[in-house]
Amino acid sequence: MSLTVKDLPGLDCGACGYRTCATLAEQLPSAPELLKRCIYYSDKQRLVTPALAAKPPAPAACGACAAALAPEGADLWQDSLGREFDFYLDHFPVEPGPREIILPHNPIITREMNVQPGDTLIGRPLGMSCGCPITHCGVAMQVDHRTGVIVWCVTGPLRPRQEGFKDLGYYIAEGYEGLVRKRRCELKIGMRYFFQPTMCMLQWRHSGLINYLNRTPEALQIRIEGLWIG
């Protein structure tokens, strides 16, 4: 294709990255792909987009595992905002992510959407103190259609992108269950603590009341409710 300045729109608009159509025309013999940048010339041509504009490849995995966040040795006892906490909350190793007990803001949708164990879900925990701004994704583990309560394991967006999902909209995080391997004080049932969920995207501390505690050879297993961020 041999184009001259007369073939270009003559608007000298700069939207191609060159101040004038004449300058663009000078470049075309050595770099004909630059013609794609002229939005007026290409009005009727749907040009093929290069690699960056193509659909993104699905990553093999989304980041490192939680172990990278729970530092060995020199433990950090401050969250990303510099606030102190008492322990890290890890998830059960056999599960795909942190276990949460949640309640959709309209609990009836648990039944209406026929949420079942194994379903992939997404939603945002509005109402949990300041409300986490992050959209969460996870897989349902237990479902109570009578109360609407769902126990799920939070994963990441990879699974819903691959497998489809049901959208809960807003939900309330009612409780967490997990393992405490690292702590800097004794933990007791009935006491409220600041803690850091190791998989928290924001690395913000949370607080809550421990109402179940079991000592296992591996770690302390806890359930913590009455959650707040901060």
């Binding site: 608007l11 608009c13 700069g14 939207a15 990255g17 060159y18 101040r19 004038t20 794609k36 940048r37 002229c38 939005i39 009005d43 009727k44 987009t49 690699a51 960056l52 504009a53 659909k55 993104p56 490849p57 699905a58 990553p59 995995a61 989304c62 980041g63 490192a64 595992c65 939680a66 990278a68 966040l69 998830h91 190793p93 056999v94 599960e95 795909p96 997404i122 945002r124 509005l126 992050i134 959209t135 969460h136 994704c137 897989v139 583990m141 394991c153 994963t155 990441g156 967006p157 990879l158 819903p160 992108r161 999902f165 959208d167 807003y170 998989m199 928290c200 995207m201 924001l202 690395q203």
Partner: protein
Amino acid sequence: MSGRRIYLDNSATTPLDPRVVQAMHPCLESVFGNPSSLHREGREARECLDHARGQVAALLNADPGEIFFTASGTESDNLALTGIIEAHGGQENHLITTGIEHPGVLETCRSLERRGVDVTYLPSDSEGLIDPDELAGAFRPTTRLVSIMTANNVVGTVQPIHELARIAQDHGVPFHTDAVQAAGKIPINVQTQPIGLLSLAAHKIYGPKGVGALFVRAGIQIAPIIHGGGQERGLRSATENIAGIAGFGCAAEIARAEMSGEAARLVKLREHIIERVAVLVPNAYLIGHRHRRLPGHLCLGFAGMEGESIRLLLSLDEAGFAVSTGSACSAHRGHQPSHVLQAMGFDPLRARGSLRVTLGRFNTDADMEAFLRVLTEKVGDLRSIATYPITTTNRGV
């Protein structure tokens, strides 16, 4: 980190150009009259108003008599759509628009639907383009208006507006375009483009907030939606915001004079970011059309992290960079996926995950290098905690 902020959200709004501030200054002090008044103070204000009207008209190659000042781009959209429908009285009315419009158009359409107007929402392709053939097939005998934005505020894609407007013209239907994002950035010439109505806003081109305009081609019948003293030749009553309008005029004149060089400069910055992000940030992808986009407009996605774009925004903000996760008008709707990305075929999760980076007049090469450095770092930080790796062995369900 130094205290310096780098503003990369110029599609949300732009800072005032110092030259605009200078132009507004007399109207905030000495030129205080009401332009409808007959005395000297009123005449001085009228001169400012008329001068600015000419400056804004020149940006579009329009006649000054075809420019009507409003209080915002959104008001201009409301006036265009509702005004055209109102002008047709109680008849059966149909309106054509798209699913990717700004809420200024979409919400007006919904309001009109509640009043019995039929609205067709044209689909968009995955790059944000409207198919002219879809438009051609949507007309009815009762179609009163077509409204399609010139450039999208979320993804930056520029429509083939001339072709779309020509189709409307062929059907004898006025064509309105929301050019709030495009005006002053790419050429618009209403002498050669068959556009009937066009919305503008001053604050997108380094002018003040609270001022907009609607171009209405001579001969198009349109009814007012604000009633009162008959200002703006009866189409938009209310005492004119003279200081704001003077600033708008100055901003329009600067944009027209500097458009070519500024667009070329911004495209170079934009292309540099696209090329470097492709290398530095694995799985980043560009949303919107690769080339048919506003000069300084980037909309990026990060595969596997779409739901966490807000976290990325917060991290960048903390590091001194202002970007957005979509249009500013919807930033408060934390739960809602972008209607634009959904209309482009994105699923609800990916539709929540765009990072909009929009460059402007006051951004420099050094800003881009600093942004690339911090973006790479922050995306890397997020990837390390984003997701528990899902494999067949640890899925546990």
